[in-house]
Amino acid sequence: MKVTIDGISLDVPQGTTILQAARMIGPEVAPPTMCYYSKLKTSGGYCRTCIVKVTKGSNQNPNPIPKPVASCRTEVLDGMEVQNVTSSEVLEARKGVVEFLLINHPLDCPVCDQAGECHLQDLGYGHGAASSRYEFKRREYEMIDIGPHIKLHMNRCILCYRCVKTAEQITNGRVHGVMHRGDAAEISTYIEQALENDFSGNVIDVCPVGALTDKTYRFKQRVWFTKPMDAHRNCKTCSGQVRLWLKGEQVVRVTRAKMPGMKWSPLFAIHADLIIKKHRIGLLKVPLKFNGIRLYHKTITST
């Protein structure tokens, strides 16, 4: 199927979304995303940062789509023409979305563990306005402990539903979800029940902002002072692909390794990108000369 994005054409297989096609072309035309997470089913569509304009629907039906569409959830049709950065309308609308995402955000980046690897920071930097037009009190919630290892800082949440989908798709027995509605909506676990599942720590990794943070790492370090190193641990339950964050020789944080283009074994197809609690907690504080770990790359500089 032929699709043209910002004047650049390429052929993609059926079922490719506009976002995937744009990413194949390159970062210049790929729309920014906040809520889409490629490994999760039915993710995306919520934040509206990735909206683009479809100026020609397809060869069969060349009419434009009247409203902007979420590129992460819209599949390409043959002959489709899309405008992203070439449309001032799209850029203006995106600026609006960024503003909406920020009006109730506490902007407590100086004390936020996510700072430096926060999608919202990057988005605001790349697409937002320098000052806020919002003059009302920001939404505030109490911080909540969900289980011994996870802290929920609802003030920072952008309701991207990524943690909800993660919990839904990999843990059995739904205990994690959204309560209330509108701008009173909040992430919650069933009566603040701990997320006890082995896989639940992954909600920390999928959270694009600092709403879900790792309690073992809270206020320990700024991420830019730590060095990431990808490693593998043989594991029967999960992919075992971990990223160790080092301060000197010391492991101060463990996250899942995000290695694009990497082939996962079919066994872990659904759990690709996910690691179990054993690694997240167990690998902490171990000096680098540990056992059972195979290092992939020496260091990776970009995250």
């Binding site: 569509g45 609006g96 503003e99």
Partner: protein, 444 residues
């Protein structure tokens, strides 16, 4: 002469019961359809009738039925949208409360056309007492053989269920309704797929408004052709209008589409004019989400032609000078009404009812409400009007479901036609009394 089809027998004592309803010619459409027509012929009649959805969007019903996917071995469903929560709209309640069998009859006839073995009536939680009336009517229909196995010996079997919602406006949006019906959180789905392909439990589903389904009965009884002669142009048939506001006779009226707006407001057969001898200031013609129009534009189009109660005439002039028929919630305001105060009521509603899935609606609806409340607290600046305009424009069309538009349109229209009222409030810094309203003051 005014034609009435749905409310023709509203004054007949005991019309709520099956016996009286049947005596007045009820269930004739089921008899006619099951005995003499194939399902496709029923759909054809509905297509011929030109019936358009009465839930707000006005989409041709026959065409919607035609889109229903019919894969082998997969059940299909008919779902009736009785979530009626748009401020200013209360016609479905009136119909279900007084003539419940009109809906049940429509459900059976429509289900026959669609090949639906089961159908659901999703009714808003606040209409709990109406759900009991419906359940009673369904029980009566089962006892008389209108529902259940092998109806009228035709081989067609059907079960109809009532499901009560939990009181969320958003569950009136058809895909949120389906989610809620499935027992999930009522968040609208991202489309496509449309319900006609993957609706309730992933099966092909038609969602129709109460009035739409009830209108199928007269269409089948009298024939689609005859129905299409009622009304005007592409606005065929009759429409229930919920009239409220500063009029002498608020209530639900059945009108023939094409009735002049002026006659509807001022004639004694309908609203009976503005109460207390006041003057007409503005009208919201189709439920709170459609653009408000000032008196001169609701009575006459920008071209000076009389405005009619029809899909086309009300929309004449686009949003610049026109509006929409919507769900038929006709709210009339007299010359003492504060447009800004009224707008706050609407804005508060949409803020409260946003599901919170997408950022423009979740964050923008609350922001708009707060800004509007500033005008009434005497703390607004003139530039806040432009900010308000900018915010609504950044919500409109950028959201998953049309609630975003429903929230943005009234704001846009109020500024478009009544900007001077905003500016005056900002200049005079006057404090307007609002009952039971917690004002949200700016912090800086």
């Amino acid at each position: 002469m005014a034609t009435t089809l749905l409310l023709k027998h509203i004054a007949v004592p005991g019309i709520k019961s099956l016996d009286v309803y049947r005596n007045m010619g009820g269930y004739a459409s089921v008899e006619k359809a099951l005995r003499t027509l194939t399902p496709n012929q029923v759909t054809e009649e509905v297509k011929k009738s030109g019936l358009r959805g009465r839930g707000g969007a006005g989409f041709p019903t026959g065409m919607k039925w035609g889109f229903l996917a019919k894969p082998e071995g997969v059940p299909r469903y008919l779902v009736c949208n009785a979530d009626e929560s748009e401020p200013g709209t209360f016609k479905d309640r009136y119909l279900m409360e007084h003539i419940p069998h009109a809906l049940i009859e429509g459900m059976i006839t429509s289900s026959y056309a669609l090949g639906a073995r089961k159908s659901y009536i999703y009714i808003r939680g606040e209409y709990f007492y109406v759900s009991r009336i419906l359940q009673h009517a369904i029980d009566e229909a089962y006892a008389a053989g209108w529902l259940g196995e092998n109806i009228l010996g035709s081989g067609f079997s059907h079960d109809c269920y009532v499901q009560v919602g939990a009181g969320a406006y958003i569950c009136g949006e058809e895909t949120a309704l389906l989610e809620s019906l499935e027992g999930k959180r009522g968040n609208p789905r991202i489309k496509p797929p449309f319900p006609a392909v993957a609706g309730l439990w992933g099966c092909p589903t038609v969602v129709n408004n109460v009035e739409t389904i009830a209108a199928v009965c007269p269409i089948i009884t009298m024939g689609g052709e005859a129905y299409s002669k009622i009304g005007i142009g592409k606005s065929t048939g009759t429409k229930l209008i919920s009239a409220s506001g500063h009029i002498n006779k608020p209530g639900v009226y059945e009108i023939e589409l094409g009735l002049p707006v002026e006659e509807f407001i001022f004639s004694d057969a309908y609203c009976g004019g503005i109460r207390n001898g006041r003057k007409l200031k503005a009208v919201v013609a189709g439920g709170s989400s459609v653009p408000i129009l000032p008196a001169e534009l609701i009575l006459k189009t920008a071209q000076g032609e009389p405005r009619l109660m029809s899909y086309e005439s009300l929309a004449e002039g686009g949003f610049q000078t026109g509006t929409m028929l919507g769900s038929g919630g006709f709210i009339v305001m007299d010359d003492q009404t504060s447009i800004v105060k009224n707008l706050l009521t609407f804005a508060r509603f949409y803020h409260h009812e946003s599901c919170g899935q997408c950022s423009p609606c979740r964050e923008g609806t609350g922001w708009m409400e707060k800004l509007i409340s500033k005008f009434l607290s005497g703390t607004a600046h003139e530039s806040d009007v432009d900010l308000l305009w900018d915010i609504q424009s950044k919500i409109e069309g950028k959201t998953i479901c049309p609630l975003g538009e429903a929230a943005a349109w009234p704001v846009a229209a109020a500024i478009r036609h009544f900007k001077s009222e905003f500016l005056e409030l900002a200049r005079n810094k006057s404090y307007v009394e609002i009952n039971h309203y917690k004002r949200l003051q700016p912090v800086s």
